[in-house]
Symmetry: C2
Subunit: 262 residues, 2 copies
Amino acid sequence: MLVLDQVLENGTEHAELLPATNDNHGGVIVDMEEAMDSEVFVTSLRASISRWRQQEGFWYHHAEPNYLMLVCWISETTSTIPANASHRVSIGAIVLNDKREVLVVQEKSGRFQGTGVWKIPTGTVDEGENIFMAAKREVEEETGIETEFLEILAFRQSHKMFFEKSDLFFICMMRPLSFDIQTQELEIEAAQWMPFEEYAAQPFAQQHELFKYITDICLAKVQGDYTGLSQIPVTSFFNDKLSCLYLNSRDLNNYLASSDQA
Amino acid sequence: MLVLDQVLENGTEHAELLPATNDNHGGVIVDMEEAMDSEVFVTSLRASISRWRQQEGFWYHHAEPNYLMLVCWISETTSTIPANASHRVSIGAIVLNDKREVLVVQEKSGRFQGTGVWKIPTGTVDEGENIFMAAKREVEEETGIETEFLEILAFRQSHKMFFEKSDLFFICMMRPLSFDIQTQELEIEAAQWMPFEEYAAQPFAQQHELFKYITDICLAKVQGDYTGLSQIPVTSFFNDKLSCLYLNSRDLNNYLASSDQA
């Protein structure tokens, strides 16, 4: 912030304006296709900003590895620029086989490193990745086990996690399609199929509220009649691309079947 | 990107290093408490980076309105810096009263501006805000109606929305606690209680897959036995703060009651 702000504050007046087009939010988009000499660029940027700006200044909107977006709301009205991304999304995968064994790992780094705790595979949903696909990918990367996604059993929203951002953690129920474990060397210390009761009896799973709920939900799924949210593809209203809708298919289908008969 | 990168490329050698501490991810954190002359800063930054960097360069990690984070992974191993936030989170609120009327609005801007479409209140979940609270807030801001959150009926994940980020849209079922509508002037053209059948019969609700599902889920909720995910507070495992767990409480409680009796 120091560099750019202080550069901007020493305004100069005579220079070419940068190529800019109006966007849909009442602002301008500067799209520079070619690199420019940095001194010429700075001079042009100063002149352009003097032109665009009234009261407000530019602020950082967001940044990705290869670009930084600065925005400036020129209108008198309240900014309606879409908000920056606010959440990371992660998954935990419960993979249960027919012997009621759960696929568990010990991690080489992170919160559980060196604790001896056996945990379910977890990981971050990549940019542009569907939640159910991330669950399949993480399980396969960490253990070599192929799986089919069944349902999101529950999810947790928490705040002020990494870099003050929020986190959505989706607990996914998976059915294994293969059984021979191949541990990923980089992140995983060990992996195994563990009787579910043994997993649930670990002190950490007993002591922490969230893990206790996960265990109960899992038992309700296996022994009872628990239904989470399964996924169906739907066409996006905004851009005609496929997106994923997660819903309680059992309850919806029961209703649709009964209303067809009525 | 142009400014900072090109500044950095003209390295100088003799200067004070910036005050830096090692972080938990094998990198360094530069925490400057006071503004610095921009030329001195640039010179110091160049010298500091030469010191810190081996092969890799810095890249933009993320930015918020008042700061920009650049990161540089110095170790030989793969970076384990937590990912940047990847998703915006938004809500749609279905508020149904005892007469089976749904609370609907016409918006002054956005996709539905001037279309005459009556839609449910929608909005973005703020930084650090719980999803169920965002649903209450948006309904009250747009229509003045107070509500109680009941359940998340379904949610949709879509990609490449605003600024290439992904979006999670949670469809929330709410019970109204007040009934006199007071329309917010800035964003809302009109608001009313509309018979649910009339809402569902609008062409847009018939033509678009997502809206058709929402209508069916809503009917299944009112006329059938549809259960979504309700929320309970849980203590976070990582930082002892309260976070929100969303789960199928009906199915879990049924299971727990039956296993108590067994």
